[in-house]
């Protein structure tokens, strides 16, 4: 089991009704973690548009999760 912190930004904060979660997970990858997290939200977001980050760096969905990682889920940017 790994203890991780999960961050949600933009409209994904509304999807999961929080900006931060402390979670204990058995997930090995972000992909697996995402499937776990879908149980916590009423409506499934548009996954293909979401970018993911581990410890403040963009990573791929199949990236491995380690104990104490901070995982972020980012909707498409809309700055400017």
């Amino acid at each position: 089991m790994k203890n991780i912190t999960i961050l949600f930004f933009g409209k994904l904060k509304e999807t999961w009704k929080t900006s931060e979660l402390k979670q204990t997970t058995q997930a090995h990858t972000i992909e697996e973690l995402y499937v776990e997290l879908l149980k916590l939200c009423d409506e499934e977001p548009h996954k293909a548009s979401i970018k993911v980050a581990i410890n403040d760096e963009f990573v791929a969905w199949d990236s491995a999760i380690s104990d104490h990682d901070t995982i972020a889920f980012l909707p498409p940017a809309s700055g400017g």
């Binding site: 933009g10 409209k11 509304e14 970018k51 760096e57 909707p75 940017a77 700055g79 400017g80």
Partner: protein, 136 residues
């Protein structure tokens, strides 16, 4: 250099920092909050960022521009927090020996920042409703 700012953007300071005696041209873009978007009347908006990743990605974009174009200095600052109509949301400035490179680099930096830097816009409309803005 890329930065995000919770305070009003000081464009004269940024412009000064972009100056270079080897440069004959300076191109600047200022993005302002406008009073309408996607058919709705906008009252104000809030920008939210993932600060650490935004600064890393913004600086990667500046480095790419320095590599791609023959420019001397490039600076971009993006506001976060609550902004009113007319407030400056983003400032990009590029100085170069010649104008073509400065124009191209300024456009490149702005376009890449808008699509890649983790910053999100939440608009409040004049009808009192609010919502996250989707990428256009």
């Amino acid at each position: 250099m890329f930065d995000i700012s919770e305070e009003t953007i000081n464009e004269s300071e940024l412009r000064k920092n972009t100056r270079d005696p080897a440069c004959g041209g300076f191109v600047c873009f200022e993005g302002w909050v406008r009073d309408h978007n996607q058919g709705k009347d906008v009252q104000k908006l809030a920008y939210e960022a993932y600060p650490k990743l935004a600064i890393k990605e913004g600086n990667r974009i500046i480095a790419e521009a320095m590599e791609k174009f023959t420019i001397n200095k490039a600076i971009c600052t993006h506001r976060v927090g609550m902004l009113e109509i007319g407030d400056m949301a983003v400032w990009v400035g590029v100085s170069a020996a010649h104008r073509d490179a400065a124009f191209q680099a300024c456009r490149y930096i702005l376009d890449e920042v808008k699509s890649r830097v983790p910053i999100w816009k939440n608009e409040t409309w004049t009808d009192g409703e609010s919502g996250w803005v989707e990428q256009e």
